[in-house]
């Protein structure tokens, strides 16, 4: 069931002298089973955009459609939409509050008003999805490692069985190992569990490696939207926005300026390797 933004505009202090437009005429469609990354410089409207997906913010104008139905329409069950779209904020471990991990994960489904057996079943499944078994149930969420805390927090959102999982810089502050494990896990939620993933990130290397599609936001408008290969072809544009391209792409671009005929639109290590080897054959 696709989630569509249609000409979404959003402004702080709308209608006053202090009006500040944050989103301008944004139209996008997100699909299940697709890993979409949103990139953009600080202040480009990324976090405002993702808060719209979960109805934490309501557009000043425009439509938000879930499965073709206008969410902003009178009588639409907004609470139900929040169950369909799960939002994980930056440093989500700071929102844990129950003394035991399992109870914390149950918080979401309990709020959905499900019967207890179902609450428990959904929480259990969510914990399994993030790779935490029963032995974690009664541990305190304040006494486990940073990476584990973050898994618990993500399980807390997954327990509501959303079709879409929206994450803001989920790997920030983790060590390389923890970061890789978490991103692999998120990729798995997309490929195996079929969730639609919408991920805000600052790391070009990460999005090049993990995403199916990249949306570039700048000053509240969508500047680029396409596969990583398509997007990272626009190096000059990205650099102008204060963004960059993956490191390996940078190497190809460097070779190009030195007069070598290479394809500068490659982003993976394997394909870049092949392209460079071509020069030597």
């Amino acid at each position: 069931m696709p989630l569509t933004l249609k000409n979404i505009n959003y402004a702080y202090n709308a209608g006053t002298a202090l009006e500040k437009k944050v989103l301008k005429d944004v139209s996008l469609t997100f699909r299940e089973g697709e890993f979409t990354a949103i990139i953009g410089p600080t202040g480009s409207g990324k976090s405002t955009l993702i808060q719209h997906l979960d109805l934490l913010l309501t557009a000043t104008s425009g439509e938000l459609l879930f499965n073709g139905e206008n969410v902003y329409a009178e009588g639409y069950d907004r609470k139900a939409l929040r169950s369909r779209v799960g939002l994980v904020f930056q440093y989500p471990e700071y929102q844990l509050f129950e003394p035991e991990i399992f109870t914390d994960v149950c918080f979401g489904p309990k709020n959905q008003g499900l019967p207890e057996a179902e609450v428990h079943a959904n929480a259990r499944e969510a914990m399994k999805l993030v790779g935490l078994d029963e032995s974690y149930d009664t541990l305190s969420p304040f006494e486990i490692s940073g990476g584990q805390k973050r898994r618990v927090a993500i399980a807390g959102v997954l327990a509501m069985k959303p079709d879409f999982l929206v994450l803001d810089e989920p790997a920030a502050g983790l060590d390389p190992q923890g970061k890789k494990e978490l991103l692999d896990l998120i990729r798995g939620l997309c490929t195996q569990a079929g969730k639609g993933i919408i991920l805000v990130s600052h790391s070009m290397d990460d999005v090049a490696e993990y995403a199916d599609r990249i949306i570039v936001l700048k000053d509240g408008t969508v500047r680029l939207d396409g596969t990583p290969h398509e997007v990272f072809r626009h190096r000059e544009e990205l650099v102008q926005m204060g963004l960059s391209v993956p490191k390996v792409t940078e190497v190809l671009c460097g070779l190009k300026t030195r007069g070598f005929d290479v394809d500068t639109g490659l982003i993976g290590i394997a394909e870049t390797k092949e392209e460079i080897l071509r020069l030597f054959r």
């Binding site: 934490l56 169950s83 904020f89 700071y94 918080f107 709020n111 304040f142």
Partner: protein, 266 residues
């Protein structure tokens, strides 16, 4: 909504009021607050409003910016107005259902509103025109005599300054946690008192955890920078009275005298 609370935020423009010694501003605010309770007639309130208006004009802080700080007390003002309007006995003007509105009630409601608004605007003007550090310097130095009585003046001043710095940060954090828990289906708005109180747990626990974490971090950062209490500390901007401050003291004294005279003779 939470970001609208502007109380305690310094407004960086250069103005005669900004340049005053914080001790003068502290004293001035104190006198202003006391004096407004002396007002009991149109003239008293008029003088108080006039005085505030002149100071605001001198301070170059936009009126709109100061008015934003009033949103925080809107409910209190509303309560005051309603209570005074309906519960003051006297000459009845008209009545709604069983409640009568009296002439005295209207008058008191107006006066109380003016008083509250002046109080808040006056106090917030001080924080708009004085950096919290200057303010705490003012408290530390202005109230330094209390040290003789074993009052930890420096520590209190430091605590205040830190609180002022972290209030906006914690406000924003509250907003963020509320949103995050709402995303997990938490409902902060509906239900009875008990349900609402219970709904605060998912907000308060993370907020406290975070506040304690910040406190530990900050204590460590302060220690790392050689903080060891007020003893032997010097100041980048030590307080020194100038002619301007003396003049301000005179104006404040004149204002107080004026309020007293109005109370006695009108």
């Amino acid at each position: 909504m939470l970001r609208d609370i502007t109380l305690g935020q310094y407004y960086p423009v250069g103005s005669p009021i900004h340049r005053l010694d914080p001790r003068v501003k502290l004293m001035g605010t104190l006198v202003y607050i006391v004096a407004i309770f002396l007002a009991d007639g149109v003239w008293g309130y008029a003088l108080a409003v006039l005085f505030l208006a002149v100071v605001i004009a001198l301070s170059k802080v936009p009126v709109g910016h100061i008015l934003k700080g009033l949103k925080a007390i809107f409910i209190i003002v509303l309560f005051t107005v309603v209570f005074n309007l309906f519960l003051t006995p006297g000459e009845e003007l008209f009545h709604i259902w069983k409640l009568s509105v009296t002439k005295e009630g209207v008058q008191r409601a107006v006066f109380m509103t003016v008083r509250l608004v002046c109080l808040v605007m006056g106090a917030s003007l001080m924080t708009f025109t004085t950096t919290p550090t200057a303010l705490t310097d003012g408290i530390e130095k202005g109230l330094g005599f209390l040290k003789v009585l074993k009052v930890p003046v420096h520590e209190v001043a430091m605590m205040m300054s830190i609180a002022l710095r972290f209030i906006p940060i914690l406000m924003e954090e509250t907003d963020k946690i509320m949103k995050a828990q709402s995303a997990r289906g938490a409902d902060f708005d509906t239900g009875g008192l008990v349900k609402k109180a219970k709904a605060m747990v998912p907000l308060l626990v993370p907020l406290f955890v975070s506040a304690f974490r910040r406190a530990t971090d900050l204590a460590q950062a302060m220690e790392a920078r050689c903080y060891h209490g007020g003893k032997g500390r010097t100041k980048l901007h030590p307080l020194k009275y100038t002619g301007r401050d003396l003049l301000a003291y005179l104006v404040i004294a004149a204002y107080l005298a004026g309020m007293i005279l109005l109370k006695i003779f009108l």
